[in-house]
């Protein structure tokens, strides 16, 4: 290959650091959107001279970010959709001899995409507000930035006049639900932290179940933090509406045949359960979840847990995205449009 054809070398560490810096800088920024932002910066400053080089750079950046934090499904899907969208050009532009015209086109499309995606959580919050009960209970699971935004928007929006209270599951073993609880209390919600195992018995007092998603699959089912399947199953039995809020960059073009296939799709490694924790330590509420984040020194290969699970479309009432509100059956059709 000649010099012009070889893809330019991308500093993977720098990309990963930029990505993590963005996430650390704004704790409410979704990782998918942060990934797109990094890709946009790369595209904006690239000196690639062919489309092949551009795509290679973006793909190399994607893998750098995916390896940075634990392989996150939404980072991968966001980057894939971004790359597809940006490089989808009409033939009259692609035939242009001057690559700078094509590159300019790519950059403009990337800008539009990023603008649209950065605004998508606000749009989702706006349209999801109406589904929050006026004077009832909402059940949420684990920590989700989009769900937090929906609740905060519903609270602020005068037309809803919300006095609803929120039940948050603890979401062991990483206790991400506690983080959600602290955020909700900070925003002035009447929030209650509940045990993961008590979801079944408390479902009768819940009016609406609101969950985020790590990925929305072609079937209309969702991949989310472990424990979601329990919640959606209970909700279905008790006839409570389940609303999923997710940005369109989380749409994954895969349909799992069995629950075991989720690990292949989600690429989340199985994490070990911390067996060294004794009961007196478990009673210490405040520092517990922070301790869990760094305390993975257990070598026992038998006691591992899967981080995510799959909830089938029959358990879900509506999926609220920035492309609109869909019943789960409609997701496949929208995915075709996105990935066409």
């Amino acid at each position: 290959m000649s010099d012009t054809e070889r893809p330019p070398v991308l500093d993977q560490d720098r990309v990963a650091n930029d990505f993590l810096a963005l996430l650390r800088g704004d704790s409410y920024l979704s990782s998918g959107i942060a990934a797109i932002r990094v890709l946009y910066d790369i595209l904006n400053n690239t000196d690639a001279s062919t489309t092949f080089q551009v795509i290679a750079e973006l793909e190399s950046a994607t893998s750098a970010m995916a390896n940075a934090e634990q392989a996150s499904l939404c980072v991968l899907t966001a980057c894939e959709i971004f790359t597809r969208y940006v490089t989808l050009t009409p033939s009259e532009i692609l035939d242009n001899r001057d690559f700078r015209v094509v590159l300019g086109f790519y950059r403009n499309r990337a800008y539009q995409f990023l603008q649209r995606s950065a605004n998508s959580p606000n749009f989702i919050a706006r349209i999801a507000c109406a589904f929050m009960p006026r004077d009832g209970t909402v059940l949420v699971h684990s920590y989700s930035k989009v769900v937090l935004r929906v609740l905060a928007t519903a609270k602020m929006s005068n037309s809803i006049g919300s006095k609803f209270r929120v039940f948050v599951t603890e979401s062991r073993p990483d206790f991400s639900g506690r983080r959600m609880y602290e955020e909700l209390v900070r925003h002035g919600f009447d929030a209650t932290l509940i045990l993961d195992v008590s979801v079944g018995s408390l479902m009768s007092s819940v009016d609406v179940v609101l969950i985020g998603a790590e990925g929305v699959l072609e079937t209309g089912g969702i991949i989310n933090k472990m424990g979601t399947l329990n919640i959606t199953d209970s909700a279905k039995v008790m006839n409570k509406p389940v609303y999923v809020v997710a940005e369109s960059i989380k749409f994954v073009k895969k349909a799992p045949m069995s629950k075991r296939e989720i690990t292949h799709i989600a690429l989340y490694p199985q994490k070990p359960i911390n067996m060294s924790l004794n009961i007196t330590e478990a009673r210490d509420a405040s520092g517990l979840f922070r301790r869990f984040e760094t305390d993975y020194n257990n070598d026992d290969k038998q006691n591992h847990y899967q981080q995510v699970d799959y909830s089938p479309p029959t358990n879900i009432n509506l999926i609220i995205t920035d492309l609109g509100i869909f019943p789960p059956e409609a997701v496949g059709g929208e995915l075709v449009k996105l990935y066409a």
Binding site: D26, S27, Y28, L29, I33, R37, Y40, D41, N44, N45, R84, Y85, L88, T89, P90, R100, V101, G104, R107, N108, A110, Y111, Q112, F113, L114, Q115, R116, A118, N122, F123, A125, R126, I127, A130, F131, M132, P133, R134, L148, R149, A152, T153, M156, S157, N158, S159, R186, H187, N317, L318, L323, G324, I325, F326, P327, E329, A330, K337, L338, A340
Partner: protein
């Protein structure tokens, strides 16, 4: 001259609202739909505008005013959105050159085409095309009943025992039954509310009460109902008693066919059915009303919300459709921009700033580096 036209419009609107109010009982929806569409046609014809956006604003404003008067009549909302869709489609030309390319389908999701002036249709052509479009909608509305009957009668066969509900208030069901009676030999069972008079013009073998419907369901082969509104997930609003009939039908595995014209299919979802349930007069005997006054609250809802799983098929004027596929025909009549970017939403936009929510600052995106200028 412009102010006189505006007064005419206000007068027309007032006349329309008075017309709806005058009817004591719930009239067949076709009448309401025809009146609303006539009003919208006049609006579209006489309103002065220089841009498509101005017309859309006027349309939405008038639509909001009428729907505010009758919030539980979804037909009004649906027709305003349908006319708005025609306006959007005719006002902005689509790129015919790459209509089949993937680029077009993906772009349509993301880009606001109103900003691209090259795609605008000249105003004079737009007016004519819009009026033609609304006229087509009117024709579709006039013929919808015959079409529903023609399509729906394919589902019924000789020897069927058909249970119907709300025969008195639904002219669609009346036409439907008249037609199937001519074609097939069958038995019709009509579920009547106790306060409704019997429809002696129309021959029905059995008149039963709602409380008997569950027992008789064991003998029934088909159930035909008329919807008030249908939502994109396949759920619907039925006259009171409809849901109980659907539940009994499910228990006995009897198919439920729901007749609905195109203007009853709504593109939006109903977050909470209880907020639109309006109550009709309880219809108590006079001396009971005297005794109950101030002590007892008698609820008589006019509408019931039914889940998608309870309906087998929806019969519209163009097709027979599975409840889970209703969202596919939404795009034929409605535009996504109308449903999600309505002025109601935009009013709250200022309040929904990330900073005000306490959820971080809005993202700053660095501008594009133009490679031609580098």
């Amino acid at each position: 001259m412009a102010s006189r036209k505006k007064e005419d419009l206000v007068e027309l609107r007032a006349k329309l609202l008075m017309g709806i109010k005058r009817s004591a009982t719930r009239e067949p929806s076709l009448k309401l739909a025809t009146e609303v569409l006539t009003f919208l046609m006049r609006l579209v014809r006489h309103e002065k505008y220089d841009k498509v956006e101005t017309l859309l604003e006027v349309l939405h404003e008038n639509g909001s005013l009428i729907t505010a008067a009758y919030p539980s009549e979804f037909v009004i909302r649906n027709l305003v959105l349908a006319v708005s869709k025609i306006a959007r489609d005719e006002g902005f030309r689509s790129d015919i050159s790459d209509a089949t390319s993937a680029f077009n389908s993906l772009t349509r999701l993301w880009i606001d085409r109103r900003k691209d002036d090259a795609l605008r249709v000249p105003l004079k052509d737009f007016r004519e095309k819009l009026i033609d479009g609304v006229r087509e909608l009117q024709t579709e509305m006039e013929t919808c009943r015959e079409n529903i009957v023609r399509i729906g009668t394919e589902l019924i066969s000789t020897g069927d025992i058909v249970m119907v509900h709300s025969l008195n208030s639904s002219t669609t069901i009346q036409s439907f039954l008249k037609d199937i009676r001519e074609k097939h030999k069958l038995r019709i069972m009509s579920v009547q509310n106790s306060s409704e008079p019997l429809n002696n013009d129309f021959p029905v073998e059995d008149y039963i009460k709602l409380c008997e419907a569950a027992t008789k369901m064991a003998h029934v082969t088909k159930v035909v109902l008329s919807a008030i509104t249908v939502f994109p997930d396949g759920s619907c609003l039925l006259p009171p008693g409809g849901r109980s009939i659907c539940l009994s039908a499910q228990r006995h595995n009897v198919p439920v066919y729901v007749l609905c014209a195109f203007y009853k299919i709504a593109p939006y979802f109903l977050p909470d059915p209880s907020i639109i349930i309006k109550h009709t007069l309880p219809g108590l005997p006079f001396d009971m009303a005297r005794k109950f006054a101030g002590r007892v609250r008698v609820l008589q809802p006019a509408i019931e919300y039914t889940e998608p799983g309870l309906v087998s098929l929806y019969v519209t004027n163009t097709t027979v459709i599975n409840p889970h596929h209703v969202y596919r025909i939404i795009t034929d009549y409605y535009h996504q921009g109308d449903v999600y970017d309505s002025p109601d939403f935009q009013k709250d936009e200022a309040a929904l700033n990330s900073e005000k929510l306490g959820l971080g600052a809005p993202a700053h995106i660095p501008p594009v580096n133009d490679p031609l200028k580098a």
